[in-house]
Amino acid sequence: MSTAPTPSCPKLRVSDLCLTFERDGKRESILEHIDLSIGAGEFVCIVGPSGCGKSTLLHVLGGFLPPTSGAIEIDNEPVRGPDPRRIFVFQESAVFPWLTVAGNIGFGLSALPRKEREERIQHYIGLVGLEGFERAFPRELSGGMKQRLEVARALAVNPDVLYMDEPFAGLDFITRMTMRKELLRIWHRERKTVVLVTHDIDEAVQLGDRVLVLSSRPAHIHCELEIGMPHPRDVSAPEYIAMRTRILDELGVERGV
């Protein structure tokens, strides 16, 4: 089990997080003794077997679900609930269908003066590549465009942390590759702290600085792997394939089909 060097001043710190659900009188342990540290500007991916609770973990981190025990701190401040400083990008599209593209991006910006708001909206429309679609409604957009809209909406409020829950799961293969490149491009520009949950090992190895592998339920951190490769990462390079294989092994997945 390789341990990554923990950053000295972590952006996000999780201590001994546990989550149990009570269902029909029986207590079910979902997350057990999760400890992790994420530094500012890091891109961390979380993978794990299906149903292990990685989405649930992300929801707890985002403040949507209170943990049964343990602490979550961002910038040394405990997390008590959802907050615009840490925006969640959901698996199913959560763009508001009654607002235009511009309306969606500007949703979190209502406190700003009008001129500044317009400027920011234009900036992020350009950043995600949706120029020309300012007045379009979500139902006129493709799946990939809707995800870009959601990312733009998330970034527009300048959050400290971006949580992404299998954001590209519903897209086709080619669109997924494009979206990953886009996400990295934007991340290099904006340097947000990103925690991304995915079931796709390739996605984790392509995107993350570090990959956390969760065990099956009740989930704890099985191992942490540091991906030491610079971007752009060549998917045919031996280091890439080695890292990928390593993760498959850690997950206990057979290599042959």
Binding site: P82, D83, P84, F90, F96, W98, G108
Partner: protein
């Protein structure tokens, strides 16, 4: 070509029905022919009571309907949001709902007398339940992700309700509003037949009572239909605005 077709066929059917009507009435003097109905209509316009009757009916609908909206939407939203509330209120609502508004008539007359308040009260009762139930349904069916996203961006629960839940539920709320308007229009006519002395419902009953003027009765009926249709079309056009059309699937073109 398509538009010409869309006008031709209904016009043909209409003409055929009118002809059949005209022929049928040649034998019975009691049922008036289309021509006589038309003349009766002209008579009403000349006598100038028509406009005031229409205004009375519309005004009563407006009052009762607005009261139903102001009470029904918040109550429905609360019911949709809290499953506990829904459980508590459901049985009562299901028992009260089938009591048609007009069954309240005798009590309404006793409480409010013979005047405007009675029809307004009945309209309120008729319009309240559809609005309540459709709003509850709309709020309940807001996809969970939208609520979570709302909580993520908004600083207070009130903001989540007004900026996310109500817009997300609005298509269903609008459906309830349309149903309620239809019912309100039915109720006002019925209430006016029994309990007041102005309005379109009264016109019909009065024309029959004061001299068997069935031509006026039918003229009144057609007028009621036309106004009801206009009201409904008005709300229907709201469905097509871009703000709301995402929530309605429109009939696929052939």
């Amino acid at each position: 070509m398509k538009r010409a077709e869309a006008i031709f066929w209904p016009a043909l059917l209409c003409a055929a029905l009118l002809l059949a009507w005209q022929l049928a009435t040649l034998h019975t003097p009691v049922v008036p022919s289309p021509v006589r109905v038309l003349r009766g209509f002209g008579e009403l316009v000349r006598k100038r009571i028509l406009l005031s009757y229409i205004a009375s009916s519309l005004w009563r609908v407006a009052k009762g309907y607005l009261a139903a909206v102001c009470l029904g939407i918040p109550a429905g939203a609360a019911l949709g949001y809290h499953p506990a509330l829904r459980q508590s209120a459901n049985f009562t609502i299901q028992m009260l709902r089938p009591i048609s508004p007009l069954a309240w008539m005798p009590m309404a007359v006793v409480w409010f007398g013979v005047g405007d308040a009675t029809p307004v009260f009945l309209i309120f009762i008729g319009a309240f339940f559809p609005i309540l139930l459709w709003t509850a349904e709309g709020v309940r069916n807001v996809p969970n992700v939208l609520v979570l996203a709302g909580r993520n961006f908004c600083s207070s629960n009130v903001a989540v309700i007004f900026r996310v839940m109500i817009p997300a539920a609005f298509p269903k709320i609008l459906t309830g509003l349309r149903a309620a308007l239809g019912i309100a229009w039915i109720v006002v006519v019925a209430a006016e037949m029994i309990a007041v002395d102005s309005g379109l419902g009264y016109l019909i009953i009065d024309s029959r009572n004061a001299g068997q003027r069935y031509d006026l009765v039918i003229a009144g009926m057609l007028l009621i239909g036309a106004i009801g249709l206009t009201l409904d079309l008005g709300l229907q056009s709201a469905e097509r605005t871009k703000f709301l059309s995402w929530g309605f699937s429109h009939e696929p073109a052939d």
